[in-house]
Amino acid sequence: METFTNQGSAQNQEDRISKAKRRQTVRRAAMWFGVFLVIGGAVFGVMKISRSTPGAGETASLVSAISSADWVKGDKEAKVIIVEYSDFQCPACGAYHPVLKRLSEEFGDKIGFVYRHFPLPQHTNARPAARAAEAAGRQGKFWEMHDIIFENQQEWSESQNGKNIFEKYAETLKLDMNRFKSDVDAKEISDKVSADFESGTKSGVNATPTFFLNGKAIANPGGYDGLRNAISQAIANNS
């Protein structure tokens, strides 16, 4: 009798143990499933966010209209005006340079493309580069200098004597070197670069490149395709 009950309770206990074990296995499986779900979801979420990260202040809107002091490619009376605040030493601006070149060739006089300086303080050669472009501009070669500077960004970005490198570029453009050298240091040119920077700050620019399409900041330019779409749409809306 006694052994019987003992056997019974032993079996009960075994049952209970195996049940508990099963429950534990289920719980563990659920936990690991949850963990991988969370990790997978996180990676997916981060990938989505990083793709739609706003370029610059989403709420930024351009406060200063284009003026005779601005460098405009295309038609400055065009119904679609793109203003770029850019830093010659910024790799992202360098990456956008071929994009914009291609777009202004494609759209021609249907758009006006304005380049404004936004040399960031941590980029020590950005301001000298901006001044070199402006000095070349006084001899009618702003865009030529602008292109050379961007195309050779790697060469001068971390250089201690950016100024000499820019002079070399000026020589290849066959500029009047005496005039170029004095213009680079001219106060008016330095003031112009500062004025661009200030108008950028007032417009809410805090990163480069920042693009304004008809006065409104493009939150996420999205490379060539994104910008092309935005421009095409603006042209369609304004015609």
């Binding site: 563990r28 936990m31 690991w32 963990v35 969370v38 990790i39 996180a42 990676v43 981060v46 990938m47 966010i49 990083s50 793709r51 990260t53 370029g55 610059a56 830093d87 910024c90 790799p91 992202a92 601006c93 990456a95 956008y96 960031l120 303080p121 941590q122 980029h123 805090n206 990163a207 480069t208 490149p209 490379g223």
Partner: protein, 162 residues
């Protein structure tokens, strides 16, 4: 006292619950941060240059990859490893897993010091996401130190040590 025996003798985890949970949170947040930079690294979306954030300079510098492996990716793997070790510890209640995580975090902390040094003194540009990671791994190391202390206490070694 081997780690193998510990859970048998003492079924309740010897590392305080709040430490394990904080560990999960910090390692997970670090994982998100590093994953973001990794995605940026590979999708090549140029990281904008901004007044406050020198990410462009840091993330495109020659120090952004070691032997071809982007530091961001190494960071993501590191945080994921810490996170999973903590989960394994919860699952198995074997303290050795948590201790492995703690020592990995110490190594990660040293790596963070090196990267902050590079940003401040060599690149002279700060990357907010990278600094955030450094702060995060500092917290993990502090948690790890507390975890190690609480372990020695519950093993009854605190008297000998003090």
């Amino acid at each position: 006292m081997t780690d193998l025996e510990t859970p048998l003798v003492r079924p309740s985890p010897i590392i305080p619950r709040w430490i394990v949970w904080s560990w999960l949170v910090f390692s997970f947040v670090g994982f998100l941060d590093a994953t973001y930079l990794t995605v940026k690294h590979y999708t090549g979306g140029p990281i904008n240059c901004s007044i406050l954030n020198g990410c462009d300079k840091v993330a495109t510098s020659s120090y952004a990859a070691v032997l071809g492996v982007p530091v961001a990716l190494a960071g993501a793997v590191y945080y994921l490893f810490l996170f999973l070790l903590a989960v394994i510890y919860i699952d198995s209640s074997r303290a050795r897993f948590f201790h492995l995580a703690v020592f990995t975090a110490f190594a990660g902390f040293l790596a963070s010091l090196w990267f902050v040094y590079l940003q401040v003194f060599v690149l002279r540009a700060l990357c907010l996401y990278c600094l955030f990671s450094a702060i995060d791994s500092t917290f993990l190391s502090l948690l790890g130190m507390v975890a190690l202390r609480s372990k020695t206490k519950s093993d009854g070694y605190s008297d000998k040590e003090n």
